[in-house]
């Protein structure tokens, strides 16, 4: 089962390495990881997508808690939540391909954020599935580069992961 784990971490040197190291040492999967400081610069917020059975996920959560710099951990996929990922795709766009790509981007509510005579760079935000679907939809259009941020997640409603 896929799980999205949110972590509040002390924004200190070595803290992220320790967290990532934990996954390597104990053989847990990281499907994606994104991390940046929060409004409080002493804290980083991570969204970590992983998969495993219930027992593995429980261990991941407990082992994360054990790290001294981890302030809070929550498996946000256990309840209603919102998940978004940012993708930048650079494609070859020549001749009538240009119209085709533009239409596809519009359908997915993507934006073309950079243009050259032969390329487009499209920005798209959504769930991982939506981003996958867009890549599928590009069909024969030659993809030059794909950059994905990995999911960021937040719980719905009044529930928060904060100090």
């Amino acid at each position: 089962m896929r799980h999205i784990i949110s972590v509040l971490l002390e924004n200190e040197s070595g803290a992220l390495a320790r967290l990532v190291g934990l996954f390597a040492q104990r053989g847990y999967n990281i499907d994606s990881l994104n991390v940046a400081p929060t409004d409080d610069p002493t804290l980083s917020r991570l969204t970590l997508v992983t998969h495993g059975n219930d027992q593995v996920i429980e261990q991941i959560s407990k082992q994360l808690h054990k790290l001294i710099e981890v302030v809070k951990v929550s498996d946000i996929s256990e309840a209603a939540h919102i998940e978004r990922e940012l993708m930048l795709v650079k494609v070859k766009a020549n001749g009538n391909q240009r119209e085709e790509v533009k239409r596809c981007a519009d359908i997915f509510r993507g934006q073309i954020i950079d243009v050259t005579p032969t390329t487009y760079t499209i920005q798209l935000v959504g769930t991982g599935d939506k981003l996958d679907a867009f890549i599928q939809a590009l069909g024969a259009t030659p993809i030059l580069e794909v950059v994905r941020s990995g999911a960021s997640g937040i719980a719905r409603g009044e529930k928060t992961l904060a100090l």
């Binding site: 924004n11 200190e12 070595g14 803290a15 054990k66 001294i68 710099e69």
Partner: protein, 589 residues
């Protein structure tokens, strides 16, 4: 990520202006303020300022080992005996990497330790400078936490933080990496040692959940075939007294893990021995057939459970542990209680006393009868008829002459299991061994750490001719500090534990388990300035032990030649249930 290590706590401000100290002086002063008496270490370039500061005071005493690994084991063993963190100081690069095995050893057994490692100057970090190693990177997976000093003025805070983390919650080693420029003698900063530390991200639980404790008591009282399974958490959690009270209040059978020996007195009739791979027949049978297991400060290690799929099929499991990650990790716990074992057991006792109920006495009676039958099956027997000395017999004789009251520090191998099985530990903190990592070379430095801190006690190092050679150089340290350890070298001429597995699984093909070219240990001991005694015949043992223990303050190396063919039994059948065991070379359950 930014690289701030900001003290987020300060002790109550005092009115007088704080003293100005160099980083190096602060390191030593902070240790003194923490109450540290001994520092175990070895000097080198990156820590010379600290050594100079050490030289200029007399509160903290330094013990110079002959190899950094020994410093870590000495500090570790002190912690195991006293419950307080041991402290190590080593230089950067090779000094730090030599300490790695000792850090990992302490980590696996949850032993509090503070390891100060030197580092190259901050501006050289990352340049592959002379004696630079990324000690934070190397030690990350084998310590509870590690940190580095980025501003000299943070040193008192970071040292306090290191002790706080090492000694609270589930204890463990903490590494503090100190770049040389943080300790410059001529740069002085205000010194104040924090009274306490409060970390928002680290708030280990103390008390157990009251509802869970009630639930546990109810389940316990309903049990017909209970077993109390106690581990190292009871020793380090200083809860042997509470555990014993609970066991005796309810007349529970008690088994201890390798790490938990001494948590319950071995001489008591309710003690059914150690459990697990080389556990007693009765302990493993009782576990397998139990309807309730009360696990206290134990972690269902694979050397205990054998095949977890076949583990204790009928048991309701109550698991008390300070570390939530230890609960339901390998074996599912039905009633988990997270908290320090001491307050949890105290609370359980209070609930029990209030309820004034006991277990069904008829059921408990027949359970004890069943256990008595199991006891009669093996009962720790061994064949003592042969002309050669048996290692089990030697341990029994050591127990006799020390009245079962010595600190027994063991190495790793067959001798370790014989010591665990045949020395009756009646007190906690007396059995000092590397259980989790199984570090050969642990025994002698461990015995040294204990002897230094408990000079009046009998301190025995039980070892083998393989293990002792992994830190034999420490005989020199023993001479320098007058450490009168008694070394019981169960010399079987083989890496016995390896040989046993080769006998059982590889048709006795002894691939590199024969120790060729052994030194003359008696001469070796004498060369280091100690007393060496060789024992090759059974009748020589008694007088040799008497002489050795009569030489109170001297290190005596007893090189005792024992039967090389002996195996450790009982032994669980690999992949089987708890109660599937070999009982001798020819019998199996």
């Amino acid at each position: 990520m930014t690289s701030q290590t900001k003290p987020d706590d300060k002790s109550a401000a005092t009115t007088k202006a704080p003293e100005m100290l160099s980083g190096a002086a602060m390191v030593i002063r902070a240790l003194a303020d923490e109450g540290v008496e001994y520092l175990y270490g070895y000097p080198g370039g990156a820590v010379l300022h600290i050594y100079d500061a050490l030289f200029q005071q007399n509160k903290v005493k330094h013990v110079l080992v002959r190899h950094e690994q020994a410093a870590t084991h000495m500090a570790d063993a002190y912690a195991r005996a006293s419950g307080k963190a041991g402290v190590v100081l080593v230089t950067s690069g090779p000094g730090a990497t030599n300490a790695v095995t000792g850090i990992a050893t302490a980590y696996m057994d949850s032993i509090p330790m503070v390891v100060l490692t030197g580092q190259v100057m901050s501006h050289l970090i990352g340049d592959d400078a002379f004696q630079e190693t990324d000690m934070l990177g190397i030690s990350r997976p084998i310590c509870k936490h590690n940190m580095s000093v980025r501003r000299p003025e943070d040193i008192p805070y970071l040292i306090k933080k290191a002790f706080h983390i090492a000694q609270t919650g589930r204890p463990g080693p903490v590494v503090l990496d100190i770049p040389k420029d943080m300790t410059m003698p001529n740069q002085k900063f205000p010194y104040q040692y924090p009274a306490e530390i409060n970390l928002r991200s680290y708030q280990p639980k103390q008390q157990g959940h009251a509802g869970q404790i009630k639930k546990a008591v109810t389940a316990l009282l309903a049990a017909k075939k209970p077993v109390l399974y106690a581990g190292g958490g009871v020793i380090m959690g200083q809860a042997a007294e509470e555990l014993t009270e609970l066991a005796q209040l309810l007349n529970l059978p008690v088994t201890n893990t390798l790490m938990g020996l001494g948590a319950y007195p071995a001489g008591d009739k309710q003690f059914i021995g150690m459990l697990g791979m080389h556990g007693s027949y009765e302990a493993n049978q009782s576990m397998h057939h139990a309807d309730l297991i009360l696990a206290v400060g134990a972690r269902f290690d694979d050397r205990v459970t054998n095949n977890t799929k076949k583990f204790c099929p009928d048991a309701t499991i109550i698991h008390i542990d300070i570390d939530p990650a230890s609960i339901s990790k390998t074996v599912n716990a039905h009633i988990p209680i997270v908290g320090l074992v001491k307050p949890v057991l105290t609370d359980m006792l209070a609930v029990l006393k209030q309820k004034k109920k006991k277990l069904d006495s008829a059921a408990l009676q027949s359970w004890w009868q069943q256990i008595a039958q199991w006891r009669a099956v093996h009962g720790g027997r061994y064949d003592n008829a042969a002309p050669l000395l048996k290692p089990q017999y030697v341990i029994e004789q050591v127990a006799k002459i020390t009245k079962g009251d010595a600190y027994v520090c063991s190495d790793v191998g067959q001798h370790q299991m014989f010591a665990a099985q045949y020395y009756p530990f009646n007190k906690p903190n007396r059995w000092i061994n590397s259980g989790g990592l199984g570090t050969m070379g642990f025994g002698l430095p461990a015995a040294m750490g204990v002897k230094l801190n408990y000079p009046d006690a009998d301190v025995v190092c039980v070892t083998g001719e393989g293990s002792i050679q992994m830190n034999i150089q420490e005989l020199s340290t023993c001479k320098q500090y007058g450490l009168g350890v008694k070394i019981i070298n169960l010399n079987n001429g083989y890496l016995g534990m390896v040989k046993q597995w080769q006998d059982m699984n590889y048709e006795s093909r002894y691939a590199s388990s024969y120790m060729d070219s052994l030194p003359d240990f008696v001469k070796l001991a004498e060369a280091y300035g100690h007393v060496g005694i060789r024992v090759t015949k059974p009748e020589e043992l008694q007088p040799a032990l008497e002489r050795a223990f009569a030489l109170k303050d001297q290190l005596v190396f007893l090189d005792i030649h024992v039967d090389p063919k002996e195996h450790v039994y009982p032994m669980q059948v690999p992949g089987g249930a708890m109660n599937e065991m070999f009982l001798s070379k020819t019998e199996r359950t």
